[in-house]
């Protein structure tokens, strides 16, 4: 009895090992040379999958080796701490990290920098920003501002009074969430009061905020509830395109998809498809592939001659750019159409 159980357990674990061995066990690529660590928030989100791709491509051209790590889920700081320690131990020359917790990761980053590594934050700044050697990121406030300005121009042209719903990420008020939300409101011409705080505005045009977890399911539920609060909503800001897709389903179910404008941020391929299909009015496209490529190149350069990357003029980070994608260009707001967006999209 006991022996057969042991045998079964052994069989089960052997099967599991075989399964794992079939998968991608290593997670490193390139041809020796400089070791670069890439530590992303998760390895499930297409945004980070794309980042990994960009890093691998740059590794090919610079002769570096990239080793990738990720948190288990959004907010998982511990796995990222472990990854940094492993990379220091492995003799990496530099680390690219999208921090899950901008503050909590700082001591580990300090340790890496003291050991002589170049640490670059991607996509999300550390707190304080200068805890990393450099940051390569989208200006999320600018991304929000662009879609806000576009919506303002559109509503002014049509002579409509806006009733705004804001679909945010989660209750934690993380920097990306706050910057996009507040940037959008400022771009639209709303007094945002405290720039670092979602929901302290008193503008009567705002119907309300709700959270989506950045996925379609959450987007749909949040939109449904806000529509119940005020069926007259005609402008919807969403934290990202999956949430926008969910919001659209809720509007469609209520028969309102024709009278409501949705704006979003990301510029992933499914999102740009939705711009083309008229589901999303405008989205602010960002470039994760470029972030990672520039990051690997910067570390390769640092390994060669010790030079560190320079910030974009007037900003405390290297701005990897953001482009407004829409098929309804608005007066005075620079944009590209969905065809261009599809050529430059990720995921």
């Amino acid at each position: 009895m006991a022996r057969s159980t042991a045998k079964r357990a052994a069989l089960a674990s052997a099967a599991l090992l075989a399964l794992v061995a079939c998968g991608d066990g290593g997670g490193s690529a390139g041809g020796g040379g400089t070791l670069v660590g890439l530590v992303t928030k998760t390895d499930t989100n297409p945004f980070f999958v794309k980042m990994k791709e960009g890093a691998q491509q740059a590794a090919g051209s610079t002769g570096a080796t990239v080793q990738s790590f990720a948190g288990k889920q959004d907010g998982d700081n511990q796995s990222q701490v472990d990854a940094i320690e492993n990379l220091i131990g492995a003799g990496a020359k530099g680390i690219l990290i999208t921090p899950n917790d901008s503050k909590a990761i700082v001591p580990s980053v300090d340790k890496a920098r003291q050991a002589g590594l170049l640490v670059i934050a991607l996509d999300t700044q550390l707190e304080p920003g200068n805890a990393a050697d450099a940051t390569f990121a989208t200006d999320n406030y600018q991304a929000g501002k662009l879609i806000g300005q576009w919506a303002k121009a559109k509503f002014a042209k049509e002579g409509k009074q806006a009733k705004i719903a804001l679909l945010d990420l989660n209750p934690n008020q993380v920097s990306v969430d706050v910057q996009r939300d507040q940037g959008f409101l400022e771009g639209f011409g709303v007094d945002v009061k405290d720039k670092k705080k979602i929901g302290d505005e008193s503008d009567p045009r705002i119907v309300g905020h709700d959270v989506t977890d950045g996925d379609p399911s959450g987007g749909r539920t949040a939109m449904e509830n806000l529509l119940q609060k005020d069926p007259g909503i005609n402008l919807v800001y969403t934290i990202n395109e999956p949430a926008a897709a969910g919001a659209y389903e809720a509007l469609k179910a209520a028969g309102k998809e024709k009278d409501v404008t949705i704006v979003s941020v990301d510029g992933g391929c499914p999102g740009v498809q939705n711009v083309k299909a008229g589901i999303i009015g405008a989205t602010a496209q960002q470039y994760p592939l470029k972030m990672a490529q520039l990051g690997v190149e910067a570390i390769a350069k640092f390994a060669k001659d010790g030079t560190k990357p320079q910030n974009t003029a007037g900003k405390d980070f290297v701005d990897t750019g953001v482009t407004l994608i829409t098929d309804q260009a608005a007066e005075g707001v620079e944009s590209k159409d969905s065809a261009w967006g599809l050529q430059n999209c990720w995921g």
Binding site: L19, P46, P216, S217, Q228, A253, P270
Partner: protein, 352 residues
């Protein structure tokens, strides 16, 4: 020193040879104790009362709350978790727990959608394939629990990761758009109209699944075996119930339920997203617990779990309509869980 102990002390003076029937309340029992007995006999009364109170309160807070349209919305919003909870309940009735339900759901939703999108497989076989995958995932859980004699918590904690990883690998983390899949997969999100209110087929499907499972648990030998196995597995085995088979059937059936939940999920978001449902395992357990099913097995009901899912849905929707911050919505659900389990413990102290 609760009322039950007081009652116990009082009982000492009565003759012990005559057990008093539960159904005949005596005059010297306090109303609280009578309530306790009532709840012990009817596990679903507790959550039903909570739901009723919540509905009344939110109806007073917002005039939009009790409109047919809003009620239909709440049903839509809980359809996925409610269906998961059907599977979760039968697992918990056998004193198990299933942490892998969300992962099984996401995996099956991706399989249904991706196979159809990639190979042009029509809707019916794609659905059936999804149901098969869900059932097999559940069966794997059951085999690990019964054959390797591992605790269900550990088994499903493990398979949760295995299934989730398979889902990411098969989907390459990419969402499959509704436009690329057969219409049948999206059917659960379609609506029909009753008296001007639009209701989704998905929410009706969830209610029917609850009814069917409630019937099976109440009126079939299998249902009685499930309760007996959960109440005392050893006693059940000695009385001739093949508890191993009962457990296998329970986990496999639960897997099928998760596949049905996957169908409802696809209809709700009009796509299949590998990122979806990551916290739905906890949400389904929350519904089951608030619905009065005991985590120790053998006591509870499917209808209670539906009420539990509805209570959470009503709280979230009602608080949102009242303009309450998401923070406090989350906290309200937390308090609900504690209250529900305390109530459950209190009921279990009943002296029959």
């Amino acid at each position: 020193m609760g009322p039950a102990e007081l009652l116990g002390l009082r009982r000492m003076s009565t003759t012990l040879s005559k057990p008093d029937p539960v159904s005949a309340p005596e005059t010297h029992r306090s109303p609280l104790v009578r309530l306790q007995h009532l709840l012990h006999a009817q596990a679903t009364i507790g959550p039903a009362v909570v739901l009723l109170v919540a509905v009344v309160v939110f109806a007073l807070l917002s005039e939009r709350f009790l409109t047919p349209g809003n009620i239909s919305l709440i049903l839509q919003q809980v359809a996925v978790v409610g269906t998961l909870a059907v599977g979760q309940t039968i697992v918990i009735l056998t004193a198990g727990i299933d942490l892998s339900c969300g992962a099984i759901m996401v995996l099956t939703s991706i399989v249904m959608a991706k196979v159809a999108a990639d190979t042009g497989l029509p809707g019916v076989p794609a659905l059936l394939l999804g149901f098969l995958v869900g059932t097999l995932c559940g069966l794997l859980n059951g085999l690990l629990v019964t054959r390797l004699k591992l605790p269900p918590f550990i088994v499903t904690l493990g398979t949760l990761n295995v299934f989730f990883a398979l889902n990411l690998w098969y989907s390459s983390s990419a969402t499959i758009r509704g436009t690329d899949m057969p219409k049948l997969l999206l059917w659960t999100g379609q609506t029909f109209t009753v008296g001007g209110t639009r209701i989704t087929y998905g929410s009706i499907m969830m209610v029917l699944l609850v009814a069917a499972m409630a019937f099976a648990l109440k009126n079939t030998a299998w249902g009685r075996h499930v309760y007996a196995t959960g109440d005392d597995a050893e006693a059940a085995r000695l009385s001739g119930i093949r508890t191993g088979r009962v457990l296998l059937s329970v986990y496999a059936t639960a897997g099928l339920m998760y596949a049905l939940a996957a169908w409802i999920l696809i209809g709700r978001i009009a796509s299949a997203s590998p990122q979806a449902g990551q916290l739905d395992n906890l949400d389904s357990i929350t519904a089951v617990v608030i619905g009065g099913t005991s985590l120790f097995g053998g006591r509870g009901a499917i209808v209670g779990s539906l009420l539990g899912a509805l209570i959470v849905g009503v709280f979230r929707n009602g608080l949102a309509l009242a303009g309450v911050d998401v923070l406090w919505q989350t906290m309200a659900v937390g308090v609900l869980i504690i209250v529900a389990v305390s109530l459950d413990q209190w009921i279990r102290k009943v002296k029959a």
